[in-house]
């Protein structure tokens, strides 16, 4: 039985599920808003929510897409008992998570949050070309129009009451008079084009994105121009770069993820990796059928 840990309304999950149905593979899909209780029967642990109920030893493969396993915890009136029982339940929950993460997983809940800074340091150690980066709380040493800034947080979208704000990669256009909270800065690379690669257990599929000729997309291609879309084509990375990608993913203990590169002259600059990023566009534009590749691996 395949276990899929995902979110409500997650389109990629739906796509993979269509493939699982076509391949006649049994699966259980759980959501981020589902709360489980840990129970046992005949010495076997099972977890139960309002939607799902299964023995954890029935699971053969896990695809961690997004969200996470949530457990309900019992509370106890006596404080000393409550502290003890809180820890007892914590270890039990951790055991269930850990048990499932050993089931031939595609990604894990425990490490899907990658630290962009550690990833960049690791990529440098492996030998990737990485644009120079630094952290600072002022623009004294920031070269204007030659430096970009982007959020350290994985998700650059802030949902306000009646609007939402997107933090894209931006060129620093002026010096600031005041200090600010420590911010990530990186050397701006003049690109020939961008590359998005999807990695799955040692295999890599890449797409070149010709975003540099459009003012709207040239700094961050995610500012999609819907009227005049970027040209996206299949792309083969050099073998040695693919080997470095595998090395990086192994070091980060990630079995799947989307990686971004900039091609500039004869260099491929590594930008970042997103273990739970969308790869639907790579699959669709390049006809890679990545949904099938994932379903096949489960």
């Amino acid at each position: 039985m395949i276990l899929i840990i995902s979110e409500n309304n997650e389109r990629t999950t739906n796509e993979i599920i269509r493939w699982l149905i076509a391949l006649k593979k049994n699966f259980i899909r759980i959501h981020e808003d589902e709360v489980f209780e840990i129970k046992s029967e005949n010495n076997h642990i099972y977890i139960q929510s309002k939607r799902n109920c299964f023995f954890i030893d029935e699971i053969t493969t896990v695809w961690y897409r997004r969200g996470g396993l949530q457990f309900s915890r019992k509370k106890y009136e006596n404080q000393a008992v409550n502290i003890h029982m809180n820890e007892h339940q914590h270890w039990l929950e951790e055991y269930v998570r850990n048990y499932l993460e050993k089931k031939n997983p595609i990604n894990k809940e425990s490490n899907y949050h990658v630290n962009k800074l550690i990833v960049l340091d690791t990529a440098k150690e492996i030998g990737f070309d990485v644009p120079e980066y630094f952290l600072t709380d002022n623009t004294d040493c920031v070269e204007i129009n030659k430096t970009i800034t982007k959020p350290l947080a994985g998700n650059g979208i802030l949902k306000f009451q009646d609007s939402h704000g997107s933090m894209y990669t931006s060129i620093v256009g002026k010096k600031e008079n005041e200090d600010f909270f420590i911010t990530f800065f990186q050397e701006k690379i003049e690109k020939d084009f961008e590359i998005r690669s999807f990695y799955l257990k040692g295999k890599i599929w890449s797409m070149a994105i010709f975003s540099q000729n459009d003012d709207q997309t040239k700094v961050d291609y995610r500012k999609y121009n819907e009227e005049r879309a970027n040209r996206n084509v299949r792309y083969n990375l050099p073998k040695e770069l693919e080997e470095k990608i595998s090395l990086l993913m192994n070091k980060l203990d990630l079995s799947s993820g989307s990686l971004d590169f900039i091609k500039s002259g004869n260099k491929f600059y590594f930008l970042e990796v997103n273990p739970v990023g969308q790869f639907g566009n790579v699959s669709f534009y390049c006809n890679y059928n990545l949904g099938y590749e994932i379903a096949k691996n489960l």
């Binding site: 409500n8 309304n9 389109r11 739906n14 709380d137 623009t139 800034t149 982007k150 959020p151 350290l152 650059g156 802030l158 949902k159 306000f160 009646d162 609007s163 939402h164 704000g165 997107s166 933090m167 894209y168 931006s170 620093v172 600031e176 200090d179 600010f180 909270f181 420590i182 911010t183 990530f184 500012k223």
Partner: protein, 61 residues
């Protein structure tokens, strides 16, 4: 829109691009409701059951 906070924020906040929230639809009944508010008569086909499809559908308006 200006974000005001007592504590300092990273410079990335100066480069935020704001846009109005999209309509999100959680169920078929809420889509029917939205359409009725907008006075749009539409026969929702029975295969339009999934929330994503509903959301896509709603963005058309």
């Amino acid at each position: 829109m200006k974000i005001k906070e007592k504590n300092k924020l990273p410079l990335t906040f100066k480069y935020i691009e704001f846009s109005k929230s999209k309509i999100t639809v959680k169920s078929k009944s809420s889509l029917t409701f939205l359409l009725s508010v907008k006075n749009i008569k539409l026969n929702i086909s029975s295969d339009l059951n999934h929330t994503n499809q509903l959301a896509d559908y709603c963005e058309l308006f």
